[in-house]
């Protein structure tokens, strides 16, 4: 599965080994981490929810688009669901390509499209004890 929704911790080092490709001269990876603040509020934890089947299908489409638009050899993405702590890796993207331009562009495309299109939702748990669904679709 090239685009994976998981409830287990993401292991970026293990995922990176899947990018090894003899034709690749560039490897770009992105990790999205849980940070302790958002829009002025102290955040203690995050909870992600997804419709896994539709998310993986839409995610696979995004990876296919990235391969079509940019000269990349391998494109992978994994997104975590469940309750995450500060510093946890929430999302990982990895691209291997012949050249750095395509690798950077494809990695950026994949994370941006994932945030905008894939049915994943994020609930913040604040220091105040309140919770809130983040409403950050980018378009």
């Amino acid at each position: 599965m090239s685009f994976k929704i998981t409830s287990n911790p993401i292991d970026p080092e293990a995922r990176k080994r899947e990018l090894v490709h003899a034709a690749a001269g560039a490897c770009v990876t992105f990790e999205g981490w849980v940070r302790n603040h958002n829009e002025g509020e102290a955040v203690q934890a995050l909870e992600y929810e997804a419709h896994a089947a539709i998310a993986e299908k839409e995610g696979a489409k995004i990876l296919a688009e990235a391969k079509q638009k940019f000269a990349v050899d391998i494109a992978l993405c994994e997104h975590r669901v469940g309750k995450l702590a500060i510093g946890d890796c929430a999302v990982w993207v990895g691209v291997a390509a012949g050249h750095r331009g395509a690798a950077f562009d494809a990695c950026r495309y994949i994370i941006d499209e994932t945030k905008a299109r894939v049915p994943i939702w994020k609930k913040e748990h604040y220091a105040s004890g309140e919770t809130g669904w983040v409403n950050c679709a980018t378009r």
């Binding site: 539709i54 049915p119 679709a137």
Partner: protein, 80 residues
């Protein structure tokens, strides 16, 4: 009138206080059904920022509903 099942995710689920419900509706499209449910449950998000799926496939808001459909309502996404 047709009978369909509506399913709610994330903020919609919390707002509606349930994750699904069976409905008898005169709505012909997913958009019309969203309008009906937004009034019922107080969903404030504009449809253009939300998504809908019918029977586990993403769909256009204009899709025609048929009896027995399961209609999934997705509030604005926020991955990453």
């Amino acid at each position: 009138m047709i009978e369909v099942t509506a399913r709610y995710f994330a903020a919609f689920r919390e707002r509606a206080g349930r994750d699904r419900e069976r409905l008898t509706t005169s709505a012909r499209t997913a958009a019309e059904l969203y309008g009906e449910l937004a009034r019922k449950h107080g969903f404030a998000d504009s449809m253009t920022r939300c998504k809908v799926a019918v029977n586990d496939e993403l769909a256009d808001w204009g899709v025609t509903l048929t009896a027995g459909d399961e209609v999934l309502f997705f509030p604005p996404v926020a991955g990453g």
